[in-house]
């Protein structure tokens, strides 16, 4: 029954506890709406045929409603509307009030990407990892203009407002990958501001968290043996962003998808890039590193050969950090809706 309704109404997969609650109200409301449109329509059509005009100047009876009728006109819709309100508002309060044991994730929208960070350490761009069957509270803000965090399969949405935090929570019910869309108009690439939620089963989640922690611990020479004692430090990609800013990458490369003097970093990693010499290469770690050290070797088509070499200017870890940073700027291909091959913040071995 629910499946049938979902197909008729084109509703996406139901993957959160809120989705189940809200969908039930949805069926109720839509069914009543359709029935009452139908009822009004049929009554009207019946009246048109029953009371056709017989003579041009036909006189009619003077019909006025009794108080009872008018009372019915008011009370009938009011009962339905208030019932919906009670159900709907109860659910609204439910979805606006996160349970105490919810796991926190900080979400920051910016033109045109989503950044996620977990209090215990890892963070990432455009891909949010959460465990299934565990309440997750999202604390949402924005760095520039309004955005809105929307996951159709979870039926949740909350605006990202610069200068304040808003919150919403959900509990994903089945592992899988679900699309995040921005629903508050935020400029040129509003429709490209997509991300995904990867819902992991309990075991996968634990494994993932462990991997994350090991990943950035491996880069620390003074890594303590006990992972749980690790203080919150900047991850490699964040260091990469810092280094990239320091050595001036952003003078020529944007991170918002617009080509500048050089190709944009957004979505660069993993892309099939056509080169000046006609060659088509997949942008991977090797290519990015080569481009930093010997920029002229394979020049992306349509861009001038003006990049200086960074051979000797960047240390090995710095180069790796920049590569890692560029990797976080990967975007899923929105037109096909295909999910990216995996989480953006793969561990660094």
């Amino acid at each position: 029954m629910n499946e049938l309704m979902n197909n008729i109404l084109f509703l996406p997969e139901r993957a959160s506890t809120f989705a189940e609650r809200v969908d039930n109200l949805h069926y109720f409301v839509i069914a009543v709406t359709m029935l009452s449109s139908l009822a009004v329509g049929t009554t009207a059509i019946f009246f048109f045929f029953r009371y056709r005009r017989r003579t041009p100047n036909q006189a009619t009876e003077y019909v006025v409603p009794s108080v009872k009728t008018e009372f019915l006109f008011v009370v009938l819709p009011l009962i339905f509307f208030l019932t919906w309100f009670v159900i709907g508002f109860r659910d609204f309060v439910w979805v606006s009030t996160p349970p105490k044991d919810a796991m926190d994730v900080y979400v920051m929208g910016k033109q045109w990407m989503w950044k996620f960070s977990y209090p215990e350490g890892p963070n990432g761009v455009n891909v949010l990892h959460v465990p299934a069957n565990r309440p997750v509270r999202l604390l949402i803000t924005s760095r520039d203009v309004l955005h809105s965090f929307f996951v159709p399969s979870f039926r949740i949405k909350m605006d990202a407002v610069p200068g304040r935090y808003t919150q919403i929570w959900f509990e994903a019910t089945k592992p899988g990958t679900y699309q995040i869309l921005c629903t508050e108009y935020c400029g040129l690439s509003h429709s490209k501001m997509l991300g995904e939620v990867v819902v992991l089963s309990a075991e996968q989640w634990d494994a993932w968290v462990k991997e994350q922690r090991q990943g950035y611990l491996a880069n620390r020479q003074d890594a303590p043996a006990d992972v749980s004692l690790v203080p919150h430090t900047a991850r490699m990609s964040e260091q990469g962003q810092k280094v990239a800013a320091e050595v001036g990458c952003f003078k020529c490369h944007t991170v918002n998808g617009e080509p500048h003097i050089g190709p944009t970093f957004l979505g660069l990693y993993g892309k099939q890039q056509t080169m000046q010499d006609g060659l088509s290469l997949r942008v991977d770690e090797a290519y990015i590193t080569q481009s930093m050290m010997d920029p002229g070797a394979h020049l992306a088509a349509g861009f001038p050969n003006v990049m200086p070499t960074f051979q000797g200017k960047l240390t090995g870890p710095q180069t790796a950090a920049i590569v890692e940073y560029i990797k976080t700027l990967r975007t899923p291909d929105i037109r096909t809706g295909a999910s990216s091959q995996g989480p953006v913040y793969e561990p660094i071995q």
Partner: protein, 557 residues
């Protein structure tokens, strides 16, 4: 001879005016110079000029709509780039809302009909009336200048901080809207004063045609809400040009405060657009089913009720903007009340047809479409007001479809219905009934075909204002675009046969619909000062079709 001097007088037996031409020329031919039109103080000529301009603006807005729909035909770029697309949907909204829907029915038909329905010779302030037309045009030209020189890419809601930071030409377009606001205030003020002071002897408050009640409620909203929009527009223009910081979070400002102020106007503005159409439909249903309005006072008071409650429902646009849960609850309940008032109207319209004598003419066809759009669109609005359903639907295509149904659907239906219903009154010509019904069917079908897929797109989760979209949304988008083409085709047919009727149409009788509406108590088209000879008297209510020979026993249901 006064047309209503006798109760038994057949409606439609108004004297044919051709012999009076020398003494009392109709308003269309009384002065033929350009100046006599451009500087006229006659409410009828001003109404006709309004009609011409809003039709032009409707055309411009429609072109933008078609560009948007064509672009959305494929998931990727189709005909234009992202920036052009963002400008196109913004301009579609701005033009349709500020230049078509707000001035359309009050400006064109309100101006023309209100004094006629009140037995007045003109509106209270004819000069202000003319001024409001020119304010509209001034604002429109400033805005259109801005559109040509850069356009605006913020969406018609111009939410801060995006609107204060974008590099597009926000300032002239919003300043144009600011001036249009003055036009709207002037019209509203004029109508309120006219209704209060210009009613002919015999027309008491509860004998006013329901169109007048609806215009009165509309005018109240225009006068009370528009100044707040004016202030907001000025502040956004100031922010954009000088970066005051009132709404800029970087300087301590609060963008949500902007949303509150914006929707304080823009939610009642929805009723500025839709209340006149409720008025038109009350007239149409009474005339074409030859029946008194079932529950006249209920319909009249529910207009005022909508106007009043409409001021306290704005927060339902912000359920997911970070306002408090308590706020959301209060605004949700108040929004439900708007739904109740609208339901009262719908039931009473259907009740009007009961025991009537229905003549299925083009305006009545539009009335049927209107009933359907109002019930379905209105109830989806109530669904939004449950707050929890707003969470998945907010800012998706479901919203787009919802407001196109209730606000645009109802207004378009009423605009087309009044265009046909009052065409003989305004121009003294008859349109072709067959083509009228054909195009009405096309428009209603096209409207459904355009927006029902958009309801489903919203359910599926497609956000509005998307230039590109995931491939799974394509089928519904194609369906919607196909529907939009049908809709455009329907309007094209209307434009052709109405233009044809204007020139070659059969001469209309003074009261071709045999209506008892007060506006039909004069010639068609009316003489310059509306009435020839003594002031008509108004012994009966305006929707009165009882056989005078029968005893008047109200039949209570």
């Amino acid at each position: 001879m006064s047309p209503s001097s006798s109760i038994a007088a057949e409606p439609g037996a108004v004297p044919v005016p051709d012999e009076h031409h020398d003494h009392h020329p109709n308003y269309l031919v009384d002065g033929t110079t350009l100046k006599s039109w451009l500087l006229t103080l006659d409410h009828k000529r001003i109404g006709v000029m309004y009609l011409i301009w809003v039709l032009l603006f409707f055309f411009i807005g429609g072109i933008y709509a078609l560009i948007v729909r064509l672009e959305l035909l494929t998931p990727g770029p189709t005909i234009i780039d992202a920036m052009t697309y963002n400008r196109a949907f913004t301009m579609h909204g701005v033009v349709m809302i500020f230049l078509f829907m707000i001035p359309a029915i009050p400006g064109a038909f309100g101006n023309f009909m209100l004094p006629l329905m009140l037995g007045a010779k003109d509106v209270a302030f004819p000069k202000l009336n003319l001024l409001s037309l020119y304010l509209l045009l001034t604002g429109a030209f400033i805005a259109i200048w801005g559109m040509i020189n850069g356009g605006m890419d913020t969406g018609w809601t111009f939410y801060t901080p995006y609107s204060t930071h974008t590099t597009t030409t926000v300032a002239p377009i919003l300043f144009g809207a600011f001036i249009i606001g003055f036009s709207s205030i002037a019209t509203g003020l004029n109508f309120i004063v006219t209704t209060h002071t210009m009613r002919a002897p015999g027309i008491t408050w509860f004998k006013m045609p329901l169109f007048v009640w609806a215009m009165y409620a509309t005018a109240c909203i225009q006068v009370l809400a528009t100044p707040v929009l004016g202030l907001v527009l000025l502040l956004v223009v100031g922010e954009h040009l000088f970066h005051f910081g009132i709404f800029d979070p970087a300087l301590g400002g609060d963008p949500v405060l902007f949303q509150h102020l914006f929707w304080f106007y823009s939610h009642p503005a929805v009723y500025i657009m839709v209340l006149p159409s409720f008025g038109v439909m009350s007239e149409v249903v009474a005339t074409f089913s030859r029946k008194n309005i079932f529950g006249y006072r209920a319909v009249a008071f529910s207009s005022l009720g909508i106007a009043f409650v409409g001021f306290f429902a704005w927060g339902h646009h912000m359920f997911v903007s970070g306002q408090s849960t308590f706020n959301a609850g209060v605004f949700a309940v108040l929004t439900m009340l708007v739904g109740v008032f609208t339901a009262i109207k719908v039931f009473n319209w259907v009740g009007t047809v009961y025991k009537g004598a229905v003549d299925f003419k083009t305006p009545f066809a539009y009335f049927c479409g209107f009933l359907y759009f109002t019930v379905f669109g209105g109830m989806t609005g109530v669904a939004f007001a449950t707050a929890s359903l707003d969470v998945p639907w907010h800012d998706t295509y479901f919203v787009v479809a919802h407001f196109h149904f209730i606000m645009v659907g109802a207004t378009i239906m009423a605009f087309m219905a009044s265009l046909h219903y009052w065409f003989p009154k305004m121009f003294g010509k008859m349109y072709h009934e067959g083509w009228g019904l054909v195009s009405a069917a096309l428009i209603i079908l096209g409207f459904n075909a355009t927006f029902i897929p958009q309801f489903l797109l919203g359910n599926a989760g497609m956000p509005r204002r998307y230039y590109e979209y995931p491939e799974r949304f394509q089928a519904l988008n194609v369906a919607s675009t196909a529907g939009a083409s049908l809709l455009a085709f329907g309007f094209l047919i209307s434009a052709i046969y109405l233009t044809h009727a204007l020139v070659f149409g059969r001469r209309a009788a003074a009261n071709p619909w045999r209506s008892r509406g007060y506006e039909w108590m004069t010639e068609s088209p009316p003489p310059t000062h509306n009435f020839v000879g003594p002031q008509p008297t108004y012994p009966e209510e305006p929707h009165f079709y009882v056989d005078p020979k029968k005893a008047e026993v109200p039949d209570a249901v």
